[in-house]
């Protein structure tokens, strides 16, 4: 997982909580606040535009990881 630390910050997870790529993001409390954290980070750290449909498209931690990589690279 390329962006594990960032995903922890977006989801506001404790450091000792294990996360698994195939788990669904809802299991880690992915909600509108986490979405705002994600949009904020990408907005502040890249010029990439986020499509409104993107933000509701990913299901698993892997999807989220890949999404972040696609926007930051």
């Amino acid at each position: 997982m390329k962006n594990e630390q960032l995903i922890r910050e977006i989801l506001e997870l404790k450091q000792d909580l294990e996360i698994h790529e195939d788990d669904e993001i809802e299991e880690y409390g992915f909600d509108s606040l986490a979405s705002i954290n994600l949009i904020t980070y990408i907005s502040e750290n890249s010029d990439a535009e986020i499509d409104p449909e993107d933000i509701e498209s990913f299901k698993t931690i892997r999807d989220l990881d890949n999404f972040i990589s696609s926007k930051l690279n």
């Binding site: 509108s32 606040l33 979405s35 705002i36 949009i39 904020t40 907005s43 502040e44 010029d47 535009e49 986020i50 409104p52 933000i55």
Partner: protein, 307 residues
Amino acid sequence: MISFTQIETALGSIVQSNNDISKSIGWSAEEIENKTGIKQRYLADVDETAEMLAEQAVSKFEIASLKDVDLIISVSNTQSIDFPNISNRIHSFLGLSENVQCFGINHGCSGFVDAILLTYSLFDSNFSKKALIITSDTYQKFINKDNRSIKTIFSDGASATLLTKDLETGWCLKNKVVNSQLNSQTFLERKLTNKDSEISMNGPQVLLFSINTVAKNLISICPQDREFILFPHQAGKIVIESLKKKLPSSAIILENYQEYGNLVSTSIPKLMEDNFNDYPENELMILSGFGVGLSHTSILLEKNKSL
């Protein structure tokens, strides 16, 4: 052409710090400020209504300066009385002539700019010469106490802006851009059929509209080679910082969300009240409102230099 003759505001009487809501929100005061950029909010007291805040704002005028007003437009999403609108109440409150045209716009953060656009039309067609634009909202009354994504953002307040038709030294309307996004009306809404008529907001979608659609379209009317003052709706830290990154360097972008939060329809008039007279040499400005709808209205104004 329009002169902004006087702008007055009145804020909710309860000043709420980040410490005050830290426990109920579940974030420390520092976390709230880091996330939102907001240091404090102004909340209307239990018996303080949008109508009352509007009266407080209007009361700051010398009554003599308002006696020949012929148009009152009010803007609000959160009247305590569904109808009539606040403009009628202010008309009677001031005891003006019965020839004054009064109407209201049920609109949010774009509403002030839309009301100015309407005023331009009525001035141009000679149906009006002096207008009073009232904005007033009390969003905090309709936000669930556990909704930490929006409880931390909004403030309650009202404004009264006196606009005078001024062909010599007024501001000319040079350009405008508007957007009304399809299928987004539920992203920020208050259903009267809901228990307690609470406001709901799809924060991510409203945020993306602001940093994508609004920024992209606002740029289309920004002068590239002349300095201008931008009075943007104070949607919050993320939106204002995004605008700073995307707009041309000719923009002087004003902000006060740190001190007042998001005042909804009163956001831009409050920003103008605080800053307008600090730029006496300013010849170009943009007023940019966006939010409920989802909608966006921005206007580019240029000071007349005929004299």
